[in-house]
Amino acid sequence: MDYFSEGLSRAVALLLALDPETFSAVWATAGVTALSLAVSLLLGLPLGFGLGYFRFRGRRAARLFVDWMLSLPTVVIGLIVYALLTTRGVLGEWGLLFTVPGMAIGLTILGLPIIISMTATAVESTDSRLTETVLSLGADRWQLLAATLSEARFAMALAAASAFGRIVSEVGIAMMVGGNIKWHTRTITTAIALETGRGEFAQGIALGIVLMLVALVVNLLVHLLRGAAGGAGGGGTSA
């Protein structure tokens, strides 16, 4: 237990001293997470809304595809993105392998189906009475769409928080596509894996503390959003 308590005290010291190597991994994580989450939201929110709101041919197949994407092993996503970005790959000319944008591509493939699926579910599960309520007050088609979007807002924010939690804690894709390059693509999770493998517990624990704090904040946010989005039928006036 000595080595653990010693590692913990050294970890706290590293954090308090704002150790550059430790914080390099924190900033790399923040950058790649922000980039992939932004792209996931930009693409996923409208796609998820469309999937949940509109009835069109092939909708079930599209839903099945998204659900399948959700269950893809991250190591497979890493492998596919690696194959695409490697110098002999289709996107090899872009030179994105072992870069933050390259990692963001892989993590977007991880986050995008979460956003699409949860947004579609949120829209599908808006109160079934909403359409008639809004129409009876004089809404046109676009105002009905806007009302549905507004009613699903908490659940859509929950989707964003869930995708964030998944992206920030991912290790396989970050390792394979990012290459775990010090000062560059080394993220919190890949650094923890590396340092633990080398027996350097202090930095691993320090980064673990940061990741756990992030997870705590995300879970608090998710808890608050669940509360805000809950009870969709409440306040109803059905007789």
Binding site: L130, T133, L135, L137, G138, F154, G235, A239
Partner: protein
Amino acid sequence: MSAPQLYSLRGVAVSYGGAEALRVPELDIAPGAGLGLYGHNGSGKSTLLRVLGFLLAPAAGVLTFEGRRVDAAAMRHGHLLRRRAVLLGQDTCLLKRSVAANVAYGLKLRGEPFNGAAGEARIARALALAGLDYAAYARRSWRQLSGGEARRVALAARLALSPAALLLDEPTTGLDRASTEHVKAAARAARERGAALVVASHDLDWLRDCADTVLELKDGRIVGTLG
């Protein structure tokens, strides 16, 4: 020359899956009139209200509203009709917003003032008509309301719009006596302000209190007038 009617229905029919759910050979509703619809479940009351509320297009017949024929072209802009004839249906819910925002929503859709002093005054008047105090209720969340309060907020949202026709489908089912009286008073107030009132209910006494004429419906047909 006869007075212009708000609604005029001639041979209006509605079918669900091939089965005829409603047939109204002739019905006129004058501006400011009070009409009650009485009948058992499945008698066609709600279907008739949905036709009058322009949520359901008749499969046959001629429907005229405010002197204009409501045909397929008019139904394509049904929201303009629904802004004149508002329905408080059995399946009406509140938006996940405050009471004031729920009452203001219809005004917002119409581009009418819903905030500032003018908007607040209008919301306060509508809430008062439904027996709810603005100071006590305006900032409350939709979640903090009982079933009866939520129903009255939904009614206030419709009263705020000063519609030409107020259509109420079983407005007091599940409400206690006090809430029922508030809904009744609000319905009367809407009529005093010039709106035609069409109410569907199982409660014949309630209908007699609020309406000039009570029609009995059975199997989608008007089978008589109750005194």
